[in-house]
């Protein structure tokens, strides 16, 4: 009896100690933003912060921070990890910038890994572990598609960046033709403290989510500062799901309700969450009605008005209608006959915008660097002081081992169209290197245009997502804005893999093998030399 009592006491003690030590914070929020073309952006964000996981320290107690991710980060020595699954295209022209940088179609993974002597092995293990965790083909990110960008994809965590770049290295890989579906969503939901049983995560309905026009699901793990001096660091995991739904398609109206777009209603907030809110980003001018009544309306640093619901209320249904108009930056992307062309529009009337253009092109497209041309408004710019290229990093491909990488720092003049073009040759692949759907062609991942956020202060909602209240403002304005171009499909010379082709190939091989000997037999003359007749052998035929 006494022993049982002591045992219970220990359990209580442990629980108490755990609760005392693990001051993990969990916040959840759902942001809904009507877009200018009648579509609706819904953005789920779940933040977990822990001060427990420290570099180089073994750690085995988890409260809200997902154990699966924590273990992967620890065992493969990752400092930062960014994984995004995207399906569809973000329509920059109509929708403006995404609230949180989305990625190009497919899967994108990039991580800063500590230099510990087995970095490449760690990267490989990391991709494999994540592949297993998310049921995705991330293990196909091998050496041929892994790159180390030099200018883009800077660390997003809040700490001394120079220190990091000296002690860590960046690895980037993307799979443009990876389909995203519920099999990826389920493990993603499992990482949440409340799973999908309560809180806004209960709205994550696969049927509705995958019927949307755009869908992006991501996990970002990064260190953040706890105070202004950044003496104490925490590890943060941000899980987001962004989906662009089209209420117009179903009802013909812009009106929406949670029930209509997710097929479910909100019942209660996640009890573990410190903060659970639903925000609707409103525009200045618009005739709309929200029901039930908004708990709070606050104004952002920018112009946006945000209607806020604290999710203590039950039964949420809202109707809203308004107009929205913003058009800053657009791009287009096209390729045919061995060339890539990127048009970058700067629609700002008075601002020169510095950007970093980044493109990874697989080894089977042989780029010709001398054909790299930059045109501004249709006029070619040669090497001169006005050249928009400020810096260029180019890594030529090595066959079957690494891809081409182009990174260019460009200055976009106000109100201009900058066109980047480069030509390539298509390579004949070995027949075993073709995928099973050989005639589809090869997907080339998105090019990424990054820009430092200073010039984009008006993109308030983008900022607010990244800047929590307790993070210094100056650092959060240094976030990169990333614009992803569309992926493209390149068809390489494909052999005819059909049956007649195989027959022809086989026949030709057989004929080629036998041709030599048969030709010899036919053209040489044979003569019988009687002199050498042996007793045992009747005759010897000697080639003349």
């Amino acid at each position: 009896m006494w022993q049982l009592g002591r045992f219970l006491f220990f359990i209580l003690l442990f629980t108490f100690v755990e609760n005392y030590q693990h001051n993990d914070i969990f916040k959840e929020s759902l942001t809904i933003k009507p877009l200018s073309d009648g579509k609706l952006l819904t953005h789920f964000q779940f933040n977990v912060r822990t001060s427990e996981i420290k570099e180089g320290k073994a750690f085995s107690h988890y409260k809200f921070f997902p154990r699966a991710i924590g273990q992967i980060i620890q065992s493969y020595n990752a400092r930062e990890l960014h994984l995004t699954f995207t399906q569809g295209r973000w329509n920059y022209e109509d929708w403006g910038y995404p609230i949180v940088p989305s990625a190009g179609t497919g899967v994108e993974l990039w991580a800063w890994l500590w230099k510990d002597g087995k970095l490449d092995k760690n990267w490989k293990s990391l991709t494999n572990a994540l592949a297993g965790l998310f049921c995705a083909s991330l293990n196909f990110i091998d050496d041929t598609i892994t790159v180390q960008p030099k200018l883009s994809f800077r660390p997003e965590g809040l700490y001394n960046a120079t220190e990091l770049s000296a002690r860590a290295e960046l690895r980037y890989g993307s799979l443009p033709h990876e389909n995203v579906c519920t099999e990826n969503l389920t493990p993603w939901i499992k990482l949440l403290p409340c799973k999908s049983t309560s809180g806004i995560a209960s709205l994550l309905n696969g049927h509705k989510l995958y019927d949307s026009n755009f869908h992006s699901m991501s996990i970002h793990v990064r260190p953040v500062c706890q105070d202004l001096e950044c003496l104490d660091r925490q590890l943060e995991i941000v899980q987001t799901v962004s989906a662009v739904v089209d209420p117009v398609r179903n009802s013909g109206k812009r009106d929406w309700s949670l029930d209509q777009i997710f097929g479910r209603r909100l019942s209660q907030a996640c009890p573990l969450a410190e903060e659970s809110k639903l925000e609707v980003i409103l525009s200045e001018n618009g005739d709309y009605k929200l029901s039930p009544a908004v708990d709070d309306v606050r104004k952002n640093d920018g112009d946006a008005t945000i209607a806020l619901y604290n999710l203590k209320t039950l039964q949420l249904e809202t109707d809203i209608s308004m107009t929205w108009n913003e058009d800053v930056f657009k791009y287009s992307y096209g390729q045919e006959r061995g060339g890539i062309k990127v048009n970058i529009f700067n629609k700002s009337t008075n601002m020169t915008v510095p950007i970093i253009y980044y493109d990874v092109i697989p080894w089977f497209l042989k780029l010709y660097l001398h054909t790299l041309k930059v045109q501004i408004n249709g006029e070619e710019v040669r090497d001169s002081p006005v050249s928009p290229i400020k810096d260029l990093y180019y890594q030529p491909a090595v066959d079957r081992s690494r891809p081409n990488v182009i990174e260019a720092e460009l200055l976009l003049p106000p109100n201009s169209i900058t066109t980047l073009s480069i030509n390539f040759d298509k390579v004949f692949l070995k027949y075993t290197e073709h995928p099973p759907d050989a005639n589809r062609g090869f997907d080339i991942g998105s090019a990424v245009i990054s820009s430092i956020g200073e010039g984009f202060n008006h993109l308030h909602d983008f900022m607010t997502r990244n800047c929590s209240e307790d993070i210094p403002k100056a650092t959060c304005y240094h976030f990169f804005i990333r614009v992803y171009t569309e992926t493209l499909l390149v068809s390489l010379p494909t052999p005819d893999f059909s049956m007649p082709y195989n027959v022809i190939t086989l026949t030709c091989t057989v004929i080629a093998l036998f041709f030599g000997s048969t030709f010899n037999l036919l053209t040489r003359d044979f003569k019988v030399k009687t002199k050498y007749i042996d007793f045992t052998i009747n005759s010897i035929i000697v080639p003349e």
Binding site: G88, H177, S212, N213, G334, E336, N343, A438, T487, T494
Partner: protein, 619 residues
Amino acid sequence: MSDTAHALKRIRTRRRLFRTLKKWISKLRFLLFAVGICWLFILPSEQYHKSTYISENALLPGQVNTYYSWGQVHEAAAFRDNITLLSNSSNIEKAAYIENELRKAGLKTAMQNFTFNMSGKKISGINVYGVFKAPRADGTEALVLSAPWKSNDGETINTNGIAAALSIGKFFKGYTYWSKDIILLITDGGEAGVQAWLESYHDHPRSAISSTPLFLRSGAIQAAINLDFPSTNDYKALGIFFEGVNGQLPNLDLINTVIRVCRSSYSIPIMLHDSGHHYSNYDNGNYYDSLHNLLQTMRHQALCHPTGSHGLFFRYKIDAITLYGHTTAKTSNSFSFIEIGSIVESTFRSLNNLLEHLHQSFFFYLLPTPERYISIGSYLPPALLLTVGLILQALELWGKTGDDYAEESVSENSQPESSSSSKDDNYVVPLPYNNRQRQILFPMTVLIVSHFAGLLIFFVITNHFSYNQLSKIFGIPEFLFTLSLITSISILIPATLIQIQKSDWMVLKSFTLAFTAMIMSCLSVLNFSLAVFSSLIVIIPFSLFKPTPKYKLLQYLQLLVLIMISPPGILILSGTNLEKFLRWALMEYELLGSYLLPFICCFYWPSILVYSVIIFSDS
């Protein structure tokens, strides 16, 4: 010992065989020609061809429920009325109307201005297109639904075609199952408009069209359907046009899909092109209908001319066909928007299923009826038989030029052979050839000079009409004079400068025959119809003609035939306006990249020039 005897026996048999072959070769040649020509006429018979089938399993044609219904038909009818009102408006107004409608449907739209200057003629117009970006798709693939402003005849306005395209585009927007973007393209200015759009879309300026660049774009186009439903009537039969530039054809699966869709849900008679028999369900027509269809296809292919806007897509590896509304067929039923819309919807749903580019089925085929095909393996042999005859003759002549020297040695060699059976041991097999050197200076000079003359003619034609300034001072008579000057000089140079030996014409003829056979057999794979028609014209004269110094009359008769089968001769005999033809052929060459003109100038004409040297060379 018995092995050796056996080997000897085999060698002897082979010799005998060759000797027989040599003896019969001239007769065999004509037999081959005859068999080839007869074989060509067997092609349309029903026993010879097979039923078509869907090769790409992903297509599943006609398996979906179509939702295009009366609501869309009413919209289409409204579009039709508006387009009818616009029929006399300017290009700009028309384009603005279309763009507005597409924008209202919720598509991203753009216009493209283009101008094309050619042979004193200026074609300009405005293309309008809208892109429906498929939700959730990554935008790497696209399908095109196009409709030109002018119908196939170049005059009637494609009213129903455009109206149907607009309503279908608007209708497609309401669904999320699309895996590929859909581009709705309304082209202006006939083929030039399509060409301008395709060149800009692929950023591949090739012809002399100047056009505004396209900033609105989508992914790689997988397939295109072109709607041609002229005027505002109901239609009796659905015509299918499929031939492209240079006789290229779309993948047979695309045609099969459309036909399967029509068959599965509607009893619309289908016809190939816009004439001939219209085929209902389970109707395979008779021999003459098939022959008519084959001849139509072969005529289009031989002229290297596309039978509609779809024909220009092939250059960019896009499979495309035109659906045409035929009004005068004698059938009781008629069809209108609801059928057109459903057929297009169902076809697009099938194409939407594609995981890969259309590649499973045939790219080389002949269609005697809409649902039966002749594959390349079945139609190629007759074309090759025709050329085999030429090759045999070329080899025979080549051998003959060597035989002159070696007649005695041949007879000497035959002696030991006949007696060899008695003394096998020391028997040496005679060389099956002799080492006589043939004079190839004269033949090669003639060949090179005449082909060079062909190139020169081509150069003169292309430049003569390209520059407007030049054509004003340089009319058709002067032009003809230049051509005849070039031809006569090219004939005279070798004839006068080089000492001709007795057997030189044989070597020359042998070379020319071999060269013609090579060109024709290569061409028969690329453009079967052009190869067959040109072989049928040249084969008999080429194999028969030779110098006949004793019969001057015969010589001049041969020359007359050669003139008749030369390109100008054929044009004059067929009553074609020479200038009109030249302008047409040139435009085809410059705008569409047709190789008819280069083929005629660089291969066909020179070989006839060479023959006019041959018939006069043995003097």
